[in-house]
Symmetry: C4
Amino acid sequence: MLDRLRRLIEENDSPAGRAFDLTIQALIVLSLVTFSIETLPDLSPRAQRWLYGIEVATVAAFTVEYLLRLALAERKLHFAFSFFGIVDLLAILPFFIATGVDLRSIRAFRFLRLFRAFKIVRYSKAIRRFHRAFVIAREELVLFVIITLMLLYFSAVGIYYFEHEAQPKQFASVFHSLWWSVATLTTVGYGDIYPVTVGGKIFTFGVLLIGLGIVSVPAGLVASALSKARAMEDASEKASEMRNR
Amino acid sequence: MLDRLRRLIEENDSPAGRAFDLTIQALIVLSLVTFSIETLPDLSPRAQRWLYGIEVATVAAFTVEYLLRLALAERKLHFAFSFFGIVDLLAILPFFIATGVDLRSIRAFRFLRLFRAFKIVRYSKAIRRFHRAFVIAREELVLFVIITLMLLYFSAVGIYYFEHEAQPKQFASVFHSLWWSVATLTTVGYGDIYPVTVGGKIFTFGVLLIGLGIVSVPAGLVASALSKARAMEDASEKASEMRNR
Amino acid sequence: MLDRLRRLIEENDSPAGRAFDLTIQALIVLSLVTFSIETLPDLSPRAQRWLYGIEVATVAAFTVEYLLRLALAERKLHFAFSFFGIVDLLAILPFFIATGVDLRSIRAFRFLRLFRAFKIVRYSKAIRRFHRAFVIAREELVLFVIITLMLLYFSAVGIYYFEHEAQPKQFASVFHSLWWSVATLTTVGYGDIYPVTVGGKIFTFGVLLIGLGIVSVPAGLVASALSKARAMEDASEKASEMRNR
Amino acid sequence: MLDRLRRLIEENDSPAGRAFDLTIQALIVLSLVTFSIETLPDLSPRAQRWLYGIEVATVAAFTVEYLLRLALAERKLHFAFSFFGIVDLLAILPFFIATGVDLRSIRAFRFLRLFRAFKIVRYSKAIRRFHRAFVIAREELVLFVIITLMLLYFSAVGIYYFEHEAQPKQFASVFHSLWWSVATLTTVGYGDIYPVTVGGKIFTFGVLLIGLGIVSVPAGLVASALSKARAMEDASEKASEMRNR
């Protein structure tokens, strides 16, 4: 009996286990949707009552699930402090602690629970491949992040000196300029802050020419790492086939 | 006689068949252009009369074509419910049903008929390669879409908590924030909604650094899948050459 | 004497020929700079006189060069109607024809003459590789352009139906909506036109998710084509080495 | 004694040397942070005193470090005029020269000193790979920069003729239009300048279709160059393994 319950909850190789997992996933999505709707202004009292009802129901279900997982875990402390153990707890705790602090934001972290879904196989191979690709390209990616941060800082300092006098409010400090760096080098370009002086515009041109080259590198990194990961996979598959013969 | 008509309409290996196909393509483009022009405000009555005339003519041609295709199809029901069968019907139906509902939008779907053009060979090889590449990278692409959706939701919730108080109208709810997520992570950045608080800006920076990395992944996926598809093609071509010797 | 002049102008394998080419290149850049400066508003009469002087001098030099090239060409008509022959003529003609029509814009096409510079070797190998890559990926690129055009049109029609009523001025017709499609799918996002309705925003989200996937494809296409072109180059180099042994 | 000091400062293979390097790195980051904070408007006199104190302390440390490096260098002039020698000097000089000119901007160049950090190994392999990839793709990248510059100029001239009359202030000259070219072809799209005429919009569409294709090329270039660099690395590693056997 206990074994079957464990298999139901922890595995998904039986139809019942898969149904259990899908139900939990649906409840998570439902609770995220209600959470999002609650943030809408001007909700009618009736809608609020409905949303509260759904919230109580989902939290009840999650609490039962959490306690079951805890009870069935062979190493209870290990589960309680594992990534998913903490995420599962954070998904229900804010409801029970009614403090003055606004804990609603934590509820949104329930979306992390959705990652459990990836256990439902299928994608695990793709995830493993991504993981391997990131391991292959790790050093380059870290290097890229460092260079990007330096470039952002350098751009911010540069544009500060070009634009500070012309737009003392927009480019009030290097920190304000950093916001410009981020919006520009990612090519988002909201249009809330942009250079107006000739020097600033020429500087922007130079920074973009270099910056876009740098920003385009990680795509190449991940691409080549992924194809290498795929090649390694194919090679190890062939090797295991050879062994099995 | 019937066979020749069938070959004219369904195949394009004869000069007449190719001419027929090109005529239909031209009529589709013409009907799309007139449809677009009709949406222009302040059209003179004369222009409207002309447009209506062209619309009648193209619909007449399409109706004849549809009936011919239906008559010549060996399995009539199969054609009627096939993708192109439905598209062909949707291209003419709105004209005949004059209801209060505005069916004009359906007319725009005529552009789907243009896909018939791809039968005109040449690109079919490239399409097949794309198709193969998508099959190869399918799992990763689905995974990527899921991760992107999660990232969009997470960003929306995060920015909501940072900006809701400072801009209660712009970031009115998680749904309003989702619009910001979409505009920002795709780097479109219309500028109708952007963070103004220090926390919101730093959060945006973090989200963009991670988000752009994720957005750059599918390009790599498709690239490596395409080159693999090309390699598979070359290999199978060589194999068939060997066989033919 | 004639032979030496021909070698001076048409080849660049001698120091004098190279000096001649560099001088012409410098004159082209100079004439483009003066052309750009002339468009500046509020130029002093003195600056205008200077600019006119430079213009006269460069056109004189280009005219001499053109006549020399024509005189030295073995097949004069062939040169006169070749790409560079026409470009060279267009570079000087607007100066001599003083009509009411503003021919100044043609002067800007002088920048095409800069492409002559690529004769100065070095990059010709890279250009050849690009050319080969484009030939390899030609079919896919044409297909991509067609799909992009279809997507742009489809997005325009879609957003027109969502936003026309809410913003009758911005989204006045399908053509106005096309401008939105272009600005959005290229992620430029000027911010002069954007959806405000819930339906329009959701539609934009969907279009962007699909559209960015499509936009990221050509990068992959060119990348894999380039690496294949490079591989073919290496292979043919090895083959010619083998032959030379 | 002298040898040990030299090893401490110039190498980082001993724990003390590593600690020294990390301390210097921390001081550089600290001085950059204080420099950035100083640009904030409305600083209290107390904060300014603190910042000045930190500035004095870091400059003192950097001065001692510079003099030590100079004293320990075997070829003093070579160090003084080396890249890092000049950067190290620029990091302290502005403090000692109190002229009317604002030398504060030079202080920001201290961030260049952070590159010393890359000596701390680990990333040197990734840097070497990047370097090799850039050498492989150098010709193509230079070619790409030239084509991009030409495209920017051509777009600027084109949009000038389309928009100058409609928006004489925004598109006042070819140089003003160049700013539009930069903001558009990089897809930043601040929204401070954009076409409003039908011709200008169609021109923008054409330029973007071609321009984005060109902008997507360098990503492919670097990607294929990086994977080639990686392959060369693997090959040379295997070769050296073979030799060691």
